[in-house]
């Protein structure tokens, strides 16, 4: 009886449903709730039925009306910046949906332990090194911040100058766009020592993206982009002091102060002084293993954040002197004499920057931003008898407008940039002058099909006064296979103008004759690649696997040719040049606060060299090792009171130029290789309420390249060469330091 009644009701209900199908609408309102609990109506939120392709979006007051689909009760509501929601809709009652704000930094990102974090949302493969990861490797500046990272490695440039180069995708850091808070930083003359000029304690986080970057920041990101975020005035401790001392006689002191002046204004002053005090010659070749240096580095920054307008501006100043070479060298008495060999370099850099942003509180997806940076960089150096001076004046500005088309599934950025670069360099007997004026325009469009597909199309045109109009198209694609696995594919162009001398200081500490055989043209490449990341659970614990492959092929490249004894040649690429990079990284957290990482990297980097008799030989790039293994283990006790970190790296053998005297390279010349070696770093940190103490070691295996300086006993003779460096020059280093903070005054 009851069942019959029930089926009649059901029948009636269904009939109504099918009769009225075309007219039934569901309406409602979507609002968002931020972390402070404040609700605002959301415009542009997408509403669609499960398994349905079309949808509706909310109007400026957050209201929507969507046609009810038969047998489709699951309504999905999504908007960028908020957590998506799915509702079961069985009636036409007015629906009120409140979406929670998703703090993109926390939710869009899976925290793989504390070591590194993958950006799940970005269509570009991006890894974020957090400040807690940076603290695990205490020393000391940007060049030393990649110790536990499997993608970026630091290469040794030479045995005298102490200049450092990073490597990404098998190529030098010159091809990576290095920004500080989206302002180009390590480029131009700053390439020489720039990695040493960002102190570690100033860094809040580092984003490393592989493959061509976004067109917004310029045309120079050929193999990747690294963006450094400095500590923020509004969220920093009132006072922070870090001191560091190592067993080789290097000392550092950072004093950082920050204050929130009002609800809108905040200010920070970051200071750094460091010095290599002791003369170290562990291998008794009468040459300093590390140059003596003194560095003073300051930044003062201000921040204003209002509801409709925000700005940041500041000033940076740096001065550094470094002296390397023979122990007996005294720059005052021995400069340009053959009493003893010396290297001396003085750098001064002054920079001012400003960022302005117009915000639209009711349309959070809309914005207008302007970045301006001006700098003056001067360097005076000499390498024995070779003299160099370099001056750079540069102004960079970038204007970006951001908005959506209809809803936040379609966003775009438009803008224009202007770069003014003035270089005046003198080296040995030649003057190199260049005045670059580069206005540019760019556009980037991002299509998002929530939780499934992201497509980013970008292009820019730059009108270069010296090298003509150049187009830089780039495409990024991300496919979310499911919640735990993503596939990314990208393709794009990139180019840059090299500064031959400033980028190759390490090539001049030898008796080789230097020749730049022709006018150097811009370097140009196409980079493409794919990456796959998968999160997994094993024995109830989280882990991840990341595989990636990238290829960079050059249309033009500045070739550094050391293949012939007694010579270093610089010329434009004649023939082909490419870099293939494959990497597999496995992460696993076997227990809480315990992270393990194992990574393997394979490089195949080759380019054509032109021999002395005009032949072309295709050789593996000098000093680049094919294989590398990295293992990292990190453990912290509850509340991070004790932190332990251990890294082991193995670097395979690498081709080096034939070191034989009078060697002239030909097609049939045998190849020379430097042996494989490994490196161990470890650190222990003890954390107290307001201070931390750390103790660690680098190169704990004490591996040293034997005789890193050829002909060290006769530095003015024909065989002297300190550029044939492929491994550590200095041995084991033990360091310790203190960090002290004062959160409230």
């Amino acid at each position: 009886m009851l069942t019959r009644k029930f089926s009649i009701i059901l029948f009636i209900l269904f009939s109504i449903n099918s009769i009225g199908q075309s007219q039934i609408f569901v309406s409602g309102k979507v609002s968002g709730k931020n972390e402070k609990g404040i609700q605002t109506a959301l415009v542009g939120a997408t509403l669609r039925w499960q398994n349905s392709k079309s949808g509706e979006i909310t109007d400026p007051d957050g209201f929507f009306k969507i046609k009810k689909e038969a047998d489709n009760h699951q309504l999905i509501i999504s908007i960028t910046g908020y957590k998506s929601d799915t509702l079961m809709v069985h009636s036409t009652d007015f629906i009120e949906v409140v979406l929670k704000e998703s703090n993109t930094y926390l939710d869009a990102v899976t925290v793989r332990g504390s070591a590194s974090v993958m950006d799940k949302l970005s269509p570009i493969q991006t890894e974020i090194i957090t400040s807690s990861a940076l603290k695990k490797a205490a020393c000391c500046n940007l060049s030393e911040s990649f110790e536990t990272n499997s993608s970026v490695s630091v290469s040794y440039s030479d045995a005298i100058t102490g200049s450092k180069q990073i490597q990404l995708l098998g190529l030098s850091g010159n091809y990576v766009q290095m920004n500080t808070e989206n302002i180009p930083n390590i480029r131009g003359l700053n390439t020489t020592f720039g990695l040493n000029y960002t102190p570690g304690t100033w860094i809040n986080s580092i984003d490393i993206s592989k493959g061509v970057g976004s067109v917004i920041n310029g045309y120079e990101a050929m193999t990747g982009a690294i963006n450094v975020e400095l500590v923020k005035p509004e969220s920093s401790d009132k006072l922070f002091i870090n001191s560091y001392l190592n067993s080789q006689g290097r000392a550092e002191l950072n004093v950082q102060a920050a204050d929130t002046l009002s609800k809108k204004w905040s200010v920070a002053l970051l200071t750094h002084i460091s010095s290599q005090i002791a003369k170290i010659d562990g291998n008794s070749d009468q040459f300093l293993d590390v140059p003596l240096y003194k560095q003073l580095n300051l930044i003062n920054r201000w921040k204003y954040s209002g509801e409709k307008f925000a700005t940041q501006f500041g000033i940076k100043y740096l001065t550094e002197n470094r002296v390397g070479g023979q122990i007996s060298f005294n720059p005052k008495t021995d400069q340009f004499t053959n009493k003893s060999y010396g290297f001396d370099s003085d750098t001064k850099r002054l920079e001012v920057f400003a960022k302005l942003a117009l915000l639209f509180p009711s349309q959070p997806y809309q914005g207008l931003g302007l970045i301006i940076n001006a700098l003056n960089h001067n360097n005076e150096s000499y390498f024995g008898f070779k003299k160099y001076t370099g001056a750079e004046k540069s102004i960079y500005s970038n204007l970006i407008y951001q908005n959506i088309i209809g809803n936040t599934n379609h966003t775009y950025k438009l803008g224009s940039s202007l770069l003014l670069d003035n270089y005046h360099e003198f080296f040995i007997d030649s003057v190199y002058k260049r005045n670059e004026v580069v206005p540019g325009i760019f556009a980037e469009y991002i299509y998002t099909f929530p939780e499934k597909i992201t497509i980013m199309l970008g292009n820019r045109i730059d009108f270069h006064n010296l090298y003509g109009n150049r187009m830089t198209p780039r495409v990024h694609f991300k496919y979310d296979i499911n919640e735990n696995s993503q596939l990314r594919i990208n393709w794009g162009k990139g180019w840059r103008m090299p500064n031959t001398v400033a980028e190759n200081f390490g090539m001049f500490v030898n008796s080789r004759s230097v020749s730049i055989t022709e006018v150097i043209k811009p370097e140009e490449s196409i980079n493409y690649g794919a990456s796959f990341s998968q999160e997994y659970q094993l024995y109830g614990k989280k882990g991840s696997l990341i595989l990636d492959f990238y290829k960079t092929s050059f249309q033009n490249q500045l070739v550094t040719d050391m293949e012939n004894a007694g010579k270093v040649l610089f010329y434009n690429l004649k023939g082909k040049s490419f870099a293939n990079s494959f990497q597999a990284e496995l992460n696993y957290n076997p227990a809480e606060r315990f992270d393990l990482k194992l990574a393997y990297r394979l490089f195949d980097v080759k380019n054509d060299f032109t021999t002395y008799n005009g032949e072309t030989v295709f050789l593996a790039k000098q000093f680049v090792n094919k294989d590398r293994l990295l293992f990292n283990a990190a453990y912290a006790t509850k509340w991070n009171k004790w932190k332990y970190d251990f890294t082991w790296q193995w670097n395979g053998k690498r081709r080096i130029p034939n070191p034989a005297q009078d060697h002239l390279h030909t097609k049939d010349s045998p190849l020379f290789f430097a042996p494989a070696f490994s490196n161990i770093n470890a650190q222990v940190t003890k954390v107290y309420k307001n201070w931390e103490f750390y103790l660690g070691g680098e190169n704990l295996g004490n591996f040293k390249q034997k005789n890193p300086i050829m002909g060290a006993n006769d530095p003015f003779g024909a065989t002297f060469d300190a550029s044939m460096v492929w491994g550590p020059v200095a041995g084991r280093v033990i360091y310790s330091g203190l960090r002290w903070k004062l959160s409230d005054l």
């Binding site: 402070k36 509850k638 222990v684």
Partner: protein, 113 residues
Amino acid sequence: MTTLKTIFILLFTVNFIFAGDTPQVIKIKTSAVCGMCKRKIEKNLAYEKGIEDVNLDIPSKILTVSYNPKKTNSATIKKIVNNTGYDADEMAATPEAYEKLSSCCKKELPVHN
């Protein structure tokens, strides 16, 4: 390598010395309402002298602390909770600390995520 081993052994030894003594446990009713409150109270207490373990149960607002009675006492612990901005049993939060709490941590709010 030997240097490294010595360092590790030394540090672990130090670690053990810091522990020791039979802990005492107290339960305190707080005015915590969310995960952020939990993290704040736990972290602030964890680094104080004599504290061995802390856990705050959000639904019941009960804070369980085990501590070394020779180094600290329940009044000190409650004071720390007050100075973090929260009530601890009969003792009310320090007004300045309470003012500074972000709006999601105010005690008039219901317990939430």
